[in-house]
């Protein structure tokens, strides 16, 4: 199973973190620090796998973002790499040519998408279309209420509510 997935920028800023088992907050911060610096220090063309503690770390860079996940010793590294790729494809299709900013400003969406794709550290749905359909389906439920809310939000921002 996958233990966690991290998205971070070339500057080491974490953009998304998903933990699939119970790890304390301190320990998480420590893991993030160690892993980010380790991955950022690697040169291109090196292999995408790293032995790290009891895990195997699989990472890949897409534009300005590193996608990095930790899997168990017995897990399949290549497939983990393709999990990352599939996730990127789904994000890309959803946001339309996704970039780091999309994930910053819509972090909650990124989480929802990830929940449809991976659950409990395992692949839930490997079909890109099915994941997108599920996400769009829940978006459509949001849009029902959107108009009223959007108006209110503008008023509120200007202190008029």
């Amino acid at each position: 199973m996958m233990k966690f997935m991290l998205l971070f920028s070339r500057q080491g800023k974490v953009r998304l973190q998903k933990w699939f088992n119970a790890i304390g907050d301190k320990e998480r911060k420590k893991i993030i620090r160690e892993l980010v610096s380790m991955v950022l220090s690697r040169r291109p063309k090196m292999c995408n796998f790293l032995d790290w503690k009891d895990y195997k770390v699989v990472y890949k860079r897409y534009a300005s973002l590193f996608f990095c996940c930790a899997i168990e010793e017995s897990d399949n590294e290549l497939l983990a790499l393709e999990c990352i790729h599939r996730f990127v494809e789904i994000l890309d299709k959803y946001f339309g040519s996704v970039c780091e900013l999309d994930i910053i400003f819509n972090f909650e969406k990124a989480y929802f998408i990830l929940d449809e794709f991976l659950l409990a550290g395992e692949i839930q749905e490997s079909s890109k279309n099915k994941v997108l359909r599920a996400v769009e389906n829940s978006d459509s439920l949001q849009e029902e209420n959107q108009e009223a809310e959007a108006t209110r939000s503008i008023l509120e921002e200007f202190g008029l509510s």
């Binding site: 199973m1 998304l16 973190q17 088992n21 119970a22 907050d25 911060k29 063309k45 090196m46 292999c47 995408n48 796998f49 032995d51 168990e72 010793e73 399949n76 590294e77 290549l78 497939l79 790499l81 393709e82 790729h85 959803y94 946001f95 339309g96 040519s97 970039c99 999309d102 910053i104 400003f105 819509n106 972090f107 909650e108 969406k109 989480y111 929802f112 659950l119 409990a120 395992e122 692949i123 839930q124 749905e125 490997s126 079909s127 890109k128 099915k130 599920a134 389906n137 829940s138 978006d139 439920l141 949001q142 209420n145 959107q146 809310e149 959007a150 209110r152 939000s153 509120e156 921002e157």
Partner: protein, 928 residues
């Protein structure tokens, strides 16, 4: 493209922009604190917030948290959102909870209630949100609350495929948290048959079945034939058959890999048809790799090879199809020179496993040159590391010299990260395949020369052990270390090895005037001042040994020992050694000196502790039982590190075997009796050793309780109900009489009134040389106690009074009798003892490989009845027993649940008396 799809929260976007525009960390903190204050006041305000605002603020908090700040409020508002009837608010509520609520939160009950409502909602989207939340948090409470509900969704005729998918993984998370959350047998057949399902949501279901098969293989073994036929259908399909599930022209790679992993949970199917079909599948997968690629994209080759590597794992698991093994090896051989670094890495890794199979070991060895080349040319350290592993795995008698030489050559420029492991590997290989011990000695000394800092204690200890045990290596070793020590800058580890070996065997080279006693001494002493205290302490021991070997240089050495630099050294250990050695050399006769400082006897033949160390570093690569190295080294380096690494070795090994070994080791300690007695600093270590020896008596009733140079104490106990009879056997190991001998049981305040002791037969007050006397004690347990009573021994040996305090192996569990019962009785009693005060539970890391049989034996030895066919999960161990004291009978029930994946145990003890449960739990937790 920044999009604002769905329901954008303007306030949130503005806030995120603000943060991004902050020029400094301080500005960012300021902006965040302002926002936090704002949100806090909104949440506290009189006006009730509407759902939208709540959602927006909760989302802002989440964002702040993800930036790395602590969030200590807003949880309640998030929980409120769960009961909103607007999907979007509910969704944000769940997200916040999944990310930010820890499993022991006070709000958990409330959250669970909300989930319960949503999980039974008619709207699948709500059910899914609830399932995702359970899968994300997966606490014990959730496992208890939903372990029975979720399987129903999984097999429900009405649930949609997407709900089933989520339910499968949700259940997976729940049983990982709490393996008994579901009843395995009850659901087995329905869950297994999901593999026949039309829908392609099977990846999730197969993940679940995989875990269920690991937890309860018997119940789920029916999945094997279904998995084989499913796999067969996939590998024979064309890439158009599976539509959405074809990934870059590879049909269903995720499902294929899951199925291949599932099959690795079971032995190869016995049924010829199923087995044949499986072999066909594996052949097809191998064949497909020879076909021209359908796409140039790396995703195509990655996913195809992912399936291939998993198939190879299964082939290695089956390990009885020579043809497949050799084909796999050839395929990997092609990858060794592939331009993709990832493939080279994986091929090296996979080949390591193939090297272990008798059918493919030779095929692997053919690639030796390529692998050696990889070691030299790969630019990525992780790949080079794999090459080292593979060289290690393929090493045998015929190629060992070449491989060791290559590894040594590489070591000079190897990455710091892998040096220590390489040193261990070189040390092991050179020992294992040494036909000529001069080669072995040369190799280890070279190791110290090129990578001295990475040569751990185990390695230099080991070379000493081997030299001491091999007569034919001693002269050569002495000569070679002497030569090595002549280098102007030699590593401290070389000084240690040199010091030790010359101290033992310096006489073998003393005939040559170039290495006369004085030259040897001067050479060693020239390094003395550059060394750390522990090495200096070792050298002082060498010097005293020199006094025995070379009486002609005794005055020179005594001068050094009596120098104020030593006698007044700030380091107590050095000071003491110098003082004692100098005294020893001046007051004892040459005969006594010769006895005390006699050459070390051979170490018992045993496997290398280096293996243990390597195993610790890399659990998968070596499969050898742990042993302990001889303790003679402990004498010469009384430094605490040796002792503590020693005990950690013991803790990691099978405790009983460890104890026996440790015990032997301790006897060896006594080899230099006077020194041991003199080294009062050592007392703590001695006590430690005794404490560890004592633990073993928790599980057995007879054995050697204590031994030093003078006396041996054996014990044999019998217990029945609340009564115990302890026989003690005192053996005088010396040739002289031990006088004024007395042995008395002393009860501390914690045992007063809880144990009655009556001596049945007093021992005599003298024990003749070589004789053994007996002493019998009767005991009665009045009420529950912890710890054990002490036994105090006093005696005089050559008019020096001696005193030893031991622990008697009288422990509360000795008064426990096992009670056999059936499942129904056990669980009804278990439930009766349900009050929190009656239960103690501990979750701990397994200290030994998880092995139900070994644990069962241990439990029986402890005094409980290990019940069979009681727990639905055969991996779990349940036991019951009654502690019988004069005043009460205390029933105790125990349940030990292993989690093999996490290498953890959960131990639960329930007892009518809460303290008894706590006591038993704490006694046992260190032993599994």
């Amino acid at each position: 493209t920044v999009s604002s799809r769905g329901d954008a929260m303007r306030g949130l976007a503005v806030f995120i922009s603000d943060i991004r525009n902050c020029k400094s960390k301080e500005a960012e903190s300021k902006r965040i604190n302002k926002e936090l204050a704002n949100i806090r006041s909104k949440f506290k305000g009189d006006k009730t917030l509407d759902g939208y605002s709540k959602k927006k603020y909760v989302c802002k908090l989440l964002f702040i948290f993800l930036l790395g700040h602590d969030i200590d409020f807003g949880h309640m508002e998030a929980v409120n959102l769960l009961s909103s009837n607007k999907y979007t608010e509910k969704q944000i509520g769940y997200l916040f909870i999944s990310v930010l609520v820890s499993s022991n939160s006070d709000l958990m009950k409330l959250i669970i209630q909300n989930i319960k409502n949503d999980i039974s909602s008619p709207k699948p989207v709500h059910v899914n949100l609830a399932l995702h939340c359970i899968a994300n948090i997966g606490s014990v409470e959730m496992s208890e609350a939903f372990g029975q509900e979720v399987p129903k969704l999984l097999v429900s005729a009405h649930a949609s495929a997407s709900v089933k998918q989520s339910a499968a993984l949700c259940l997976l998370r729940l049983i990982r948290t709490l393996p008994e959350a579901m009843t395995y047998a009850e659901w087995a057949s329905r869950v297994i048959h999901l593999l026949n399902d039309q829908h392609m949501w099977l990846t999730a279901a197969t993940s679940l079945i995989h875990t269920l098969s690991q937890l309860s293989p018997g119940d789920y073994k029916g999945c094997v034939s279904l998995a084989v036929s499913r796999l067969s259908r996939i590998v024979t399909s064309t890439y158009t058959d599976l539509q959405d599930y074809t990934y870059y022209f590879v049909p269903a790679p995720w499902l294929s890999v899951k199925l291949l992993r599932l099959l690795q949970c079971y032995p190869v199917p016995e049924e010829p048809a199923v087995r044949g079909r499986l072999v066909e599948c594996l052949e097809t997968i191998l064949n497909k790799c020879q076909e021209p690629p359908k796409s140039k994209k790396v995703q195509h080759s990655n996913s195809k090879n992912a399936v291939l590597f998993e198939a190879i794992n299964l082939i290695i698991h089956i390990d009885s199809e020579p043809n497949l093994l050799v084909r796999a090896c050839n395929q990997l051989g092609q990858f060794l020179q592939h331009r993709e670094t990832n493939l080279r890495y994986l091929a090296l890794e996979s080949m390591c496993l193939l090297a272990g199979s008798e059918f493919s070991a030779d095929a692997v060895k053919k690639h030796r040159e390529t692998v050696i080349n990889a070691l030299k040319t790969e630019r990525d350290v992780s790949v080079r590391q794999r090459a080292v592993d593979l060289l290690y795995a393929m090493c045998d008698k015929t190629n060992s010299e070449e491989i060791v030489a290559e590894m040594l050559a590489y070591l000079k420029k190897a990455d710091y990260a892998i040096r220590e492991e390489m040193v261990l590997k070189v040390a092991i290989l050179s020992e294992k395949y040494a036909s000529d011990y001069t080669w072995y000695v040369d190799t280890i000394l070279k190791l110290i020369r090129v990578a001295g800092d990475y040569v751990s204690e185990e390695v230099w200890h080991r070379v000493i052990q081997i030299v001491i045990n091999r007569d034919d290596a001693q002269g050569y070793a002495a000569k070679t270390v002497f030569e090595n020590l002549q280098a102007p800058a030699c590593h401290e580890n070389m000084v240690k090895v040199g010091g030790y070996i010359l101290g033992e065997f310096g006489n073998l080279i003393a005939g040559d005037e170039r290495s006369s006693p004085l030259v040897q001494f001067n050479l060693l002493h020239s390094k003395f001042h550059l060394c750390t205290p522990s090495t200096r302490a070792l050298l002082l021991s060498t010097y005293i040994k020199f006094i025995n070997l070379f009486p002609e240089i005794k005055p020179t050495i005594q001068n050094v020992l009596q120098n104020n630099n030593q006698l007044r050294n700030a380091d107590v250990e050095l000071q003491q050694r110098a003082l004692e050695y100098s005294q020893l050399s001046s007051i004892t006769s040459q005969d006594v000196l010769a006895t005390v400082l006699e050459e070390m006897p051979p170490f018992p033949e045993r496997e290398s502790s280096i293996l243990a160390k390597l195993k610790k570093k890399k659990p998968a690569s070596v499969q050898v039982s742990l042993r302990i190295f001889g303790v003679k080294i402990v004498i010469l380096s009384t430094n605490d590190n040796v002792t503590s690494s020693f005990f950690s070795t013991v803790n990691n090994s099978n405790i009983e075997a460890g104890m026996v070994q440790l015990y032997l080791a301790y006897i060896q300690c006594c080899f230099l009796p006077i020194i041991i007695e003199l080294l009062s600093k050592d007392l703590d270590n001695k006590n430690n050793i005794f404490a560890h020896c004592f633990l073993v008596f928790m599980f057995k009733n007879s054995g050697v309780l204590f031994e030093n140079a003078l006396i041996q104490v054996g014990v044999k106990c019998e217990f029945k109900e609340q009564y115990g009879r302890v026989g003690l056997f005192f053996g005088n190991k010396t040739g002289n009489q031990l006088q004024n001998f007395a042995a008395a049981v002393s009860l501390g305040p914690e045992h007063q009134g809880k144990i009655n002791v009556a001596t049945q037969k007093e021992p005599p007050s003298q024990i003749d040389g070589g004789a053994q006397v007996q002493h019998f004690i009767n005991l009665e347990c009045i009420s529950m106690f912890s710890g054990s009573p002490n036994l105090q021994l006093r005696y005089q040996h050559s008019s020096a009074p001696q005193q030893v305090t031991l622990k008697l192996p009288v422990i509360i569990n000795k008064f426990m009798e096992g009670v056999d019962m059936n499942s129904g009785d056990f669980f009804s009693r278990w439930k009766q003892l349900g009050q929190p005060t009656q239960e103690t539970q501990k979750i701990f890391q397994a200290r030994h490989p998880i092995d139900t049989e070994a644990a069962r034996t241990k439990l029986t030895g402890f005094g409980m009845c290990a019940l069979t066919n009681v727990d639905p999960n055969p991996e779990n161990l349940v036991g019951s027993g009654i502690i019988k004291t004069k005043t009460s009978q205390i029933g105790c029930l125990l349940r030990l649940e292993p989690n093999k994946q996490a290498k953890m145990y959960r131990l639960t003890v329930r007892s009518s008396v809460g303290e008894a449960a706590a006591l038993i739990c704490s006694m046992l937790e260190e032993h599994f």
